[in-house]
Amino acid sequence: MNSVQITSHKDGGIVTVYLSGQALDASNVQRFRHDTATMFDSEKFFVFVLKDLKFVDSSGIGALLSCLRKAHANGGDVKLAEVPDNVKSLFELVRMDRLFEIFPTKEDAAVTFRS
């Protein structure tokens, strides 16, 4: 099963999370939820970089929303950066672009946490 690879990097209180893989979809979303479960316990501000994620489906959106909710519960936030066109279209379609802020680069996203 293709799971989503997750690597992260913290700088100045902001955690940049790189997601890569064939898909974040029904086939691996459980695993993704498990892998990200504790991530929001100790940190608040996240930038998810999606450039190496080729495909996201509705269950993938659900998992990302659950991340957003956990971050909000801690007074933090999740912002998205470098989102491939097909994934961005999906976000717009289900109007998630209004819940998630989407930025062209991870630097653009990180800056907004600081202002």
Partner: protein, 528 residues
């Protein structure tokens, strides 16, 4: 305007706090540099007044951290120094401090210096707003350019030239480019293909590309009606005629256009090319299974006012493949700067030339996507693939069986991508078809088959005049949803978009039973 005071001396901190409040400022207080930094990480302060001497994180260190953070909105930093402490203002300025106040401070002086800070911050905000407005304008321009590109510069593979099989694709870059292509079908066995690139970026390049394409099409029509006896004008004459209209204008605009104009004649088995400085055409020869790079020696259109165009001929056989591409393909760069390059293109063509042009195109697109991580195409990516000979198996409908398992989803999406390309869907339409099919398949696998992995799902594709019908056939419990509501924009919702996505991504969706125990979901995607 929010001010943060960072001072470890309680008395001086209190005096400062009171003074600022009396001056009507909104003030937060930190008892040392470390706490100040934590507060700065959590929110933005317009002005920070920090004591120079503090334990652990001192005023200088705090200043350096603020400057390093590279935030969008500016933080104005005032350092407090004491007459009795040895401090060097140059060190403070180098660390990024904007001003200094000596303790014990004078209230009038403090007020005046804060006035300066506010003036500078206001100018900074105005500058930032102006920058944002410019960026917004630029985004709008890119959008307009992308629309021109989709509607005027690109074409769909031609119907009617049945002696050939075509696939064409364009992925626009962020900075609009002037790539264009089109086809002119003379008869079922003779077709002209041209691919060009107007130099430059943005809307000017897109308009020049559109103008050039239009002029070429008009040149063919005019020459055809001039001869009037059914003889075809030579490719050289077509380009020469277009040149006579375009060259002076292009030179005046300080622009030029590279162009590859080809005529493929499958009766004579001859391809004729006029190459005007475009990227080489790849010719995969079925007989010896080798790829040849073809190029001629004309200048791009608009380079020189007087140019006499030459053409060259290449023989071909059934099964041969021609690949026209823009330099955006070979120049597609990975994040480490590695170009996709022509070697990779030649290798991919050699490996998959026996497949249909659509499959070949799909593989190329995936290869470029994974090479560039799907981002930052510096140039447009345009490819036209022509295979000589009617499709080996000209499918009106085709089907493939898959194991009903979530891990088959990637493979299923790929199959839908192939057939979509074969039915002339463009990149965006294919993304939508793949997404809709994926959502429908997930429902079948999860709900009808409970992800057992023992069942089989057939995906059937049927070519329509203007699109494709994809039918997912499965056994087991039938699946038929009721009305689909628009999803509410609710953070607490985690699912239920699937049906909505399906409905929005395809033009028609229907659920049914073909015979007892066998159900289907049918998706129709039309090309406009």
């Amino acid at each position: 305007m929010k001010i943060l005071i960072a001072d470890d001396e309680q008395v001086s901190r209190m005096v400062l706090d009171r003074t600022l409040r009396a001056l009507d400022y909104d003030v937060d207080v930190a008892v040392d540099g470390r706490q100040a930094w934590e507060m700065l990480e959590a929110r933005h302060y317009s002005i920070v007044i920090a004591d120079w001497v503090m334990p652990e994180v001192d005023g200088i260190e705090l200043c350096q951290r603020i400057r390093r953070a590279n935030v969008e909105a500016y933080t104005y930093v005032i350092l407090l120094t004491s007459k009795f402490e040895k401090t060097d203002r140059l060190t403070g300025l180098t660390a990024g401090a904007d001003d200094f106040i000596t303790k014990p401070f004078d209230r009038a002086e403090l007020s005046a210096r804060l006035g300066v800070a506010r003036r500078i911050l206001r100018m900074e905000t105005e500058l930032r707003d102006a920058k944002q407005r410019i960026e917004e304008k630029r985004r709008q321009e890119i959008e307009i350019g992308a629309n021109i590109q989709r509607s005027l510069l690109m074409a769909r593979p031609p119907e009617g030239a049945t002696a050939f099989e075509f696939a064409a694709m364009n992925l626009p870059s962020t900075a609009i480019d002037g790539d264009f292509f089109d086809f002119f079908v003379h008869r079922s066995t003779v077709v002209d293909v041209f691919v060009g690139d107007a130099m430059g970026k943005g809307i000017p390049a897109a308009l020049i590309g559109a103008g050039t394409k239009n002029t070429l099409l008009r040149s063919i029509s005019r020459l055809l009606s001039d001869t009037g006896d059914g003889r075809l004008p030579s490719p050289r004459d077509v380009v020469q005629t277009a040149h006579s209209t375009l060259a002076r204008e292009l030179i005046r605009l300080n622009a030029f256009v590279t162009l590859e104009y080809a005529r493929l004649d499958s009766e004579k088995k001859i391809a004729t090319f006029v190459d005007c400085g475009h990227t080489k055409v790849l010719h995969w020869v079925a007989k010896d299974q080798k790829t040849h790079e073809l190029s001629g020696g004309n200048f791009p259109i608009g380079f020189v006012p007087e140019e006499t165009y030459g053409q060259f001929e290449v023989p071909f056989e059934d099964g041969d493949v021609f690949c026209f591409y823009s330099d955006g393909v070979t120049d597609a760069r990975a994040s480490d700067g590695d170009f996709f390059g022509s070697d990779r293109l030649v290798e991919l063509l050699g490996k998959h030339a026996h497949e249909s042009p659509s499959e070949l195109m799909y593989r190329l697109r995936e290869a470029i996507r994974s090479h560039t991580s799907d981002l930052d195409l510096d140039d447009d990516f345009t490819v036209v693939i022509v295979r000589v000979g009617s499709p080996a198996e000209p499918w009106e409908s085709t089907q493939r069986g898959f194991r009903s398992d979530l891990s088959s989803l990637t493979e299923m999406r790929q199959f839908v991508g192939f057939v979509g390309l074969d039915c002339n869907l463009d990149a965006k339409e294919i993304d939508e078809l793949q997404l809709a099919t994926h959502e429908a398949l997930t429902n079948v696998i999860m709900h009808a088959h409970e992800n057992s992995g023992h069942e089989v799902i057939d995906i059937e594709a049927e070519r329509l005049n203007n699109g494709i019908r994809v039918r997912i056939v499965y056994t087991g419990e039938g699946f038929a949803p009721g009305e689909v509501d628009e999803p509410s924009m609710n953070i607490y919702r985690e699912g239920g978009w699937g049906l909505f996505i399906i409905q929005r991504c395809v033009d028609k969706v229907s659920y049914g039973t073909s015979r007892p125990g066998v159900n289907y979901i049918e998706l129709v995607k039309l090309t406009p």
